[in-house]
């Protein structure tokens, strides 16, 4: 049996838990995914209950892991930020498919400021206004 190389954790924090659906459907493009989990922010959650759930997860994550949140300024991001004081984690907001794929591709290395910047770049590049070129005549 081939041993899987070490993977660094990716934690998704999304409103209602749509991150898990994204992860499941991405296997269609990149195959089996490891080390990606999620804590869903449910409508019934208060800041405190959500914080507890995320805490349980974050305390078990190795240093230099990555948290991807859906909305900058949303509760998912606010809570993630509160852990940046005591834990060595990276946080990137604005989850999209390219962001998650890029993060998964870099999962065999510890996440650093540089690698997070590159993941962000990839996510931004995937967002384009697609238009056909002007055809002359």
């Amino acid at each position: 049996m081939v041993e899987r190389p070490k993977t660094y954790e990716i934690l998704l924090l999304t409103h209602g838990g749509w991150g898990m659906t994204l992860k499941e459907k991405l296997t269609m493009i990149i195959g089996k995914i490891h080390g990606v989990s999620e804590v869903a922010l449910e409508p019934s959650d208060t800041t405190e209950t959500f914080l507890q759930k995320v805490k349980e997860k974050v305390t078990k994550m190795p240093a230099d892991s990555l948290i991807l949140t859906d909305i900058a300024g949303g509760t998912t991001s606010n809570i993630a930020l509160t852990f940046s004081k005591d834990y060595q984690i990276n946080i990137l907001s604005g989850l999209n498919s390219m962001m998650l794929m890029e993060a998964i591709m870099r999962q065999n290395q510890p996440f650093t400021t540089e690698s997070v910047a590159q993941i962000r770049e990839a996510a931004l590049l995937s967002c384009q206004h697609l238009q056909l070129p002007d055809l002359k005549n």
């Binding site: 409103h15 409508p43 019934s44 959650d45 208060t46 800041t47 209950t49 909305i71 900058a72 300024g73 949303g74 509760t75 998912t76 991001s77 606010n78 930020l81 509160t82 004081k85």
Partner: protein
């Protein structure tokens, strides 16, 4: 004199529903969070300041600071979006002299002794009594999570609270 555009009770304070929806529904350019614990917490203050859109100023005051600021300068200038985590804070704020004539309850999560009355919005005995008193003093109270969805008048929520309370007995 600052102009109060919206007053919302939301246990999550600045979050997705507020920054993507309600702020844009109003023309507020300042968010004022009133919360005793938060006003003394520099770290969390930083996080909520970051959470707001960059063109919106965020101020966090204790109830006493807010009341004092209103008395002296009517909170300066600008259009205010006032946020508190719970009913008690807004009740105290009003009692200390800030003229608030409308309150939106946007989010009050569940907990022991609390009864959900409208989606995830819950009330307990104290909340119900304080809000009832405010309504009798002509403060309009309603429950509304996001603009696209329906809202509920407090009177209706109170009826629901009482009937659910009796059912649980």
């Amino acid at each position: 004199m600052a102009e109060i555009q919206m007053v919302r009770i939301d246990s999550r304070l600045i979050h997705g529903q507020v920054i993507t929806k309600w702020i844009r529904q109003t023309s507020a350019n300042r968010i004022v969070i009133i919360d005793d614990a938060l006003s003394a917490d520099e770290f969390m203050t930083g996080i909520y300041t970051m959470a707001a859109p960059s063109d919106i100023e965020v101020n966090i005051y204790s109830v006493d600071e807010a009341a004092e600021y209103w008395k002296k300068e009517e909170m300066g200038a600008g259009k205010l979006f006032i946020l508190t985590k719970n009913v008690e804070t807004i009740y105290q704020t009003i009692k200390k002299g800030i003229p608030i004539d409308e309150i939106q309850i946007g989010g009050l999560g569940g907990g022991p002794g609390r009864i959900s009355v409208f989606g995830p919005i819950s009330l307990d005995e104290e909340d119900a009594a304080m809000l009832k008193e405010l309504e009798q003093e002509n403060c309009h109270v309603y429950l509304h999570q996001v603009p696209e969805e329906s809202k509920m008048e407090f009177k209706k929520a109170l009826e629901r609270y009482n009937s659910l309370k009796n059912k649980n007995k």
